[in-house]
Amino acid sequence: MTGQGQNKSRDGVIDENLRRVFDEAVEEGIPDRFKSLLEQLKQQDAKKGDNG
């Protein structure tokens, strides 16, 4: 393979940026709408369980 050294550093820069972009989004945390959605889904199931 030729140019592997160059690809290695090139890919290193790309991977580092990818991780930064991704981590930034992860660190935003979970908006409340998802927590309340999960609560709603849980309650829906509990009701179904009671009825039958």
Binding site: Q6, N7, R10, D11, V13, I14, D15, N17, L18, R19, R20, V21, F22, D23, A25, V26, E28, G29, I30, P31, R33, F34, K35, L37, L38, L41
Partner: protein
Amino acid sequence: MSTPDPRDELVEHLPAMRAFAISLTRNGSVADDMVQDTLVKAWTNIEKFEVGTNMRAWLFTILRNTYYSSRRKAKREVADVDGIFTESLAEKPAHDGHLQMNDFRVALAKLKDEQREALLLIGASGFSYEEAAEMCGVAVGTIKSRTNRARKNIAELMGLNEDEAMEMTDDATMSVLSSSKVASF
């Protein structure tokens, strides 16, 4: 004791799902709608999840399918949303000195969806080529070549391949390069 409910694990995967959705769609509110749809689908189809297998891979599969089916619908309704978004992204000032990161975001946004997806699954989400291939319903070799093309295109857009820069003759690539001002260093 009752067996643990796999639905209790859904919440743990939410931050990674959101990060994947935001990176894939480049739009926070579209991403959150997608994650919400995925969450409801996963909850109501939890019996289809095989306990002991990789839940994150299962969720990402639902997420990407949601994205591609909504994209097919949206394509008929909205024209050139990508172009408009990419323009605004290119003009966003670099914050806290991460000039390179801003270039990277612009380059990532310009990739074809399939290439961006492969790169995000392999490079950012930590899936194997085999896992990503299964999630996307394509051969392992296809994921590898999409990832390689994604890296090559990003490198070109960011001007990371100085040796190869002169070889580019493709008009579309050149116009993309000049419009994003990547060539300025």
